[in-house]
């Protein structure tokens, strides 16, 4: 998405804030399949970037790391110590390939929002975080049934030592939360943050573009300047959010995996 694309949808007359249409893309080329759009293309590119990065960092590891291996190891240690270990403890290493891949993939997809030409966060299309969240959800339920038993897993979720009528009130909430809303909030938290961030950047960059280049007026000049400054500030802020959301998504994945491996205390 760039200023011209947004302008094309404003009709050219007066300033119109960008809406949800900035998330809709035509097929990549005329006559191409409808699903093959820019976000799909860059979702694949993002996955390839992660593969190439991990391959060059970890394929031939040296005892004294150099170059890409240095960066890869910093990333690995960060994911292991800050995300995985607090939840998974001694099972951490076993789950690191999954968690490291999820973290890097989500982060790269998020960072695409501020890469020139791409300028679109892949995770602002709900399908992408949804697939990742559903994948984690199935792992959680599978691990729960495998490690705690197919029936025990479901009964372990219910807190002990309460009067019987209270269970009638609480058990539906517990099951709806754990099995339906937890994966939903897992995906939506990432999606909504990236969606909103992209809207904010699109809005302020359009304000700058409109009032300084498209329709420059003496009165609008100040507004245009504010638009440009806020765009720069919000881009820096978005960089932080992109990292934070990748961190949170992976942290929740570790938390859900742990809840499958061990019952609540």
């Amino acid at each position: 998405m760039n200023a011209q694309t947004v302008l094309a949808s404003t009709g050219g007359g007066e300033f119109q804030a960008p809406g949800p249409e900035i998330f809709e893309f035509p097929p990549l080329f005329a006559g191409g399949p409808e699903w093959l759009t820019k976000p799909v293309l860059f979702a694949v590119v993002g996955a390839l970037v992660v593969c190439v990065f991990c391959w060059s960092a970890f394929a031939k590891p040296k005892l004294v790391p150099r170059g890409v291996q240095n960066i890869g190891e910093i990333g690995y240690v960060f994911v292991r110590d800050q995300i995985a270990r607090p939840f998974l403890g001694k099972n951490t290493e076993q789950w690191m390939p999954l968690l490291m891949s999820v973290f890097l993939l989500v982060w790269v997809w998020n960072i695409f929002a501020v890469i020139p030409v791409i300028q679109f966060p892949i995770t602002s299309h709900i399908a992408f975080p949804a697939v990742l969240a559903i994948f984690i959800y199935f792992i959680k339920v599978y691990l729960g049934m495998k490690h705690q038993g197919p029936v025990k897993y479901f009964t372990n979720l219910i807190p002990q030592g309460l009067p019987k009528p209270v269970y009638f009130l609480l058990v539906p909430i517990e099951y709806l939360s754990t099995f339906i809303l937890a994966p939903f909030t897992h995906a939506v938290r990432l999606f909504a943050n990236m969606f909103a961030g992209h809207m904010i950047l699109a809005f302020f960059s359009l304000v700058g573009f409109w009032f300084l280049i498209e329709k420059p007026t003496a009165l609008g000049f100040g507004v245009g300047i504010i638009g440009v400054i806020v765009t720069i500030v919000m881009t820096a802020f978005e960089l932080l959010i992109q990292f934070l959301q990748a961190f949170l998504f992976t942290m929740l994945a570790a938390m859900y995996i742990q809840s499958g491996l061990h019952a609540d205390h």
Binding site: P86, F87, G89, P159, L162, L169, L170, P172, I173, E174, L176, S177, T178, I180, L181, A182, F184, T185, M251, L252, M255, Q258, S259, D264, H265
Partner: protein, 74 residues
């Protein structure tokens, strides 16, 4: 896990569990008891039952979070 076997990091982890589970518990509480309230409201024609159901759902969800995660530290 019994109180004797608890390690300091268990408390930290439970805190994180609780913090990140709260939104889905609150939504669940509102969906179930608010939904039941809405059905009752439709059935009886008494619109005030829906907000009562929603509030009961939120209260029960907070109580569930307390029962699951808060009792250890109390």
């Amino acid at each position: 896990m019994s109180e004797q076997k608890r390690r300091p990091e268990d408390g930290q982890q439970e805190f994180a569990d609780a913090a990140w589970s709260v939104p889905s518990y609150l939504l669940s509480g509102m969906a179930i008891w608010g939904g039941l309230g809405w059905l009752l409201a439709k059935w009886t024609g008494q619109a005030w039952i829906t907000p009562i159901g929603l509030v009961i759902g939120v209260v029960l969800a907070i109580y569930l979070v307390y029962v699951k995660y808060g009792r250890h530290s109390a």
